[in-house]
């Protein structure tokens, strides 16, 4: 039971962890000062969420492991984030596309998680949902701006959406741990979020003068710890200090 809840929480938090890390890479390199600040802000929110989740997970594990152990001392096959969030910052259109495709899901997910019978999870969801609704507004505004802006920006945004689309379906897959926790009433049945997700995403894409990708082929694996080749490099940075200087306080 505890194992399932622990894994369930990691499944949620790893998305925020890896996406936060990707956004952190950009800090100081944003295309404008305002977007730099906004992306850093989202990263900050996400890491704040990660800490809440992992502190709770550490309590459940009950064996002295810390939030940092959970965040930084797992192996590549133990991270449960979806493939979408680990995709690189190829350019700003990819950063925004990734954010948008995740935010729409994230917002719907948290709205459901608020109803969790697990009071800690529902409290975290309740705190996070305000932040994430801001994220979603920010990213969908930018999708519209880039989609509607110039021919160049439209093409770049379209290419990013086309490439990232293949990672959207995984958001609605359930792991074994998910199923158990959903059955207990503490988890969110993500399969039920799918229809509204694509409805909302398509709505924004249309407003942004972007075409809705038609591909019916999707990639998955992240939730089972089988990641794209991008993740390993991200982890080597994320983990560097904890690995090189083990068992210290910072």
């Amino acid at each position: 039971m505890k194992d399932n809840l622990y894994n369930y929480i990691l499944g949620i938090a790893d998305n925020s962890l890896i996406l936060g890390q990707r956004l952190g890479e950009l800090c100081g390199h944003g295309p404008t000062l305002e977007t730099d600040i906004a992306c850093t802000n989202i990263s900050l929110d996400l890491f704040g969420q990660v800490r809440s989740y992992f502190q709770y997970a550490a309590k459940i594990a009950g064996d002295n492991r810390s939030e940092d152990d959970i965040a930084m001392l797992r192996k590549e096959r133990e991270y449960k984030n979806v493939l979408l969030v680990e995709q690189p910052n190829t350019n700003f259109a990819y950063t925004i596309g990734r954010q948008f495709l995740f935010d729409v899901y994230h917002l719907a997910f948290l709205a459901e998680l608020q109803k969790s019978t697990d009071l800690t999870l529902s409290a975290i969801a309740n705190k996070c949902i305000k932040e994430v609704s801001y994220h979603e507004r920010f990213s969908s505004d930018w999708v519209k701006r880039l989609g509607d802006g110039t021919e160049e920006s439209n093409q770049k945004m379209q290419k990013a959406i086309n490439d990232l689309w293949t990672y959207t379906d995984e958001l609605f897959h359930q792991t074994e741990a998910d199923k158990v926790i959903v059955a207990e009433g503490a988890g969110v049945d993500v399969t039920k979020l799918k229809v509204n997700y694509y409805k909302r995403v398509n709505e924004i894409l249309q407003l942004a003068n972007l075409e809705i990708p038609e591909s019916k082929y999707f990639q998955k694996g992240g939730k089972e710890g089988i990641h794209t080749e991008h993740l390993g490099y991200l982890l080597s940075e994320l983990q560097y200090m904890q690995r090189a200087y083990p068992n210290m306080e910072w």
């Binding site: 900050l44 880039l146 200090m241 904890q242 210290m248």
Partner: protein, 318 residues
């Protein structure tokens, strides 16, 4: 305007400043005042923006989630400082794009300290403690400077900077009290950042230009050497408190002066870095210019979208 009139305006202007009144954007001001302020304020804004880079370098590798969040927040604050310093400078009739242009072509300067690399995690401590520490000493007097928008911006900046400085000191303290390896990291960072931090307070008074005029306009209220002495006197006891050694064999307390005596600063290094030949000058400019150039299509898109939106609104109104 006749020369007579101008001289009269200048007299009134000087008197207002002497009375500690604030000069506001719409007030008349001498051209030299405007130009000097644009130079200093934009340089200050650029320093915030370039200053994001050495610390940004450790965000992905911060050793704990708590430190990562604090570091992200700190770098974000610097972006915020940049933002309102640019805005304050814009009140003097220069656009942000023009200021960027000056930065990217090397016409405008930024604080040389950011041309040193952040080599280890401990540098996040040293930068906060020493660099922000020296910055505050430079900046606190500016909270009372004569140009209103600058003074108000500085009040906000200083409040956050002193929070950053405490945060940096806390990183150093934790390291200094940590494992022998951590203590070594801290000492090493202090060794590397000490002298550049002293240089941050500017060239010796003998070599310093603009000082007299700046004093009058309250852009400067103490000499560089006085500020440097203040920084040293404040910092040495902090280093002692956490058991670190200032890397200056000539450093010793001077009972008579009530201050620390200290060793010679390597001004050759200072001027080399100022002139663009520090360890990271090229990297810093490459990063800033890169972000600017890569941002072009995005800024264009945002502009085009805003125009289209406006047009659509107008069409609907018709």
């Amino acid at each position: 305007m006749s020369e007579e009139q101008i001289r009269s305006l200048e007299r009134q202007f000087d008197e207002r400043i002497a009375r500690d009144e604030k000069i506001e954007p719409k007030d008349w001001m001498p051209e030299k005042y405007r130009k000097t302020h644009i130079r200093q304020m934009s340089q200050h804004a650029h320093s915030e923006i370039v200053g994001m880079l050495p610390e940004g370098n450790w965000i992905t590798r911060a050793p704990s989630l708590r430190r990562k969040v604090a570091l992200l927040a700190k770098v974000q604050d610097e972006a915020g400082h940049g933002l309102y310093l640019y805005s304050a400078t814009e009140t003097l009739g220069i656009s942000r794009d023009e200021m960027y242009e000056q930065l990217h072509t090397g016409k405008a300067k930024y604080s040389s300290i950011f041309n040193y690399p952040t080599v280890t995690w401990a540098d996040m401590g040293a930068v906060g403690w020493l660099v922000d520490g020296a910055a505050i000493i430079n900046q606190v007097p500016l909270c009372n400077t004569s140009y209103g928008p600058y003074a108000r911006a500085m009040i906000r900046v200083c409040k956050e900077e002193s929070f950053h400085q405490r945060q940096g000191f806390e990183i150093m303290m934790k390291l200094a009290n940590g494992s022998p390896e951590q203590k070594e990291l801290a000492q090493d960072a202090l060794n590397r950042w000490w002298w550049p931090s002293l240089m941050m307070l500017g060239p010796t008074d003998a070599e310093s230009v603009h000082t007299e005029q700046s004093m009058k306009w309250k852009l400067k209220r103490k000499s560089n050497d006085d500020l440097r002495q203040q920084f040293i006197d404040q910092t040495v006891p902090q280093a002692e408190l956490i058991g670190l050694t200032i890397p200056d064999p000539d450093l010793k307390w001077n009972e008579e002066r009530g201050s620390y005596d200290f060793g010679d600063i390597n001004w050759d290094e200072f001027w080399q870095v100022v002139k663009g030949h520090g360890p990271c000058n090229k990297e810093r400019m490459k990063a800033r210019i890169g972000a600017w150039e890569e941002g072009e299509w995005i800024r264009d898109a945002a502009m085009a979208h805003a125009e289209k939106k406006q047009e659509r609104k107008q069409k609907q109104a018709v």
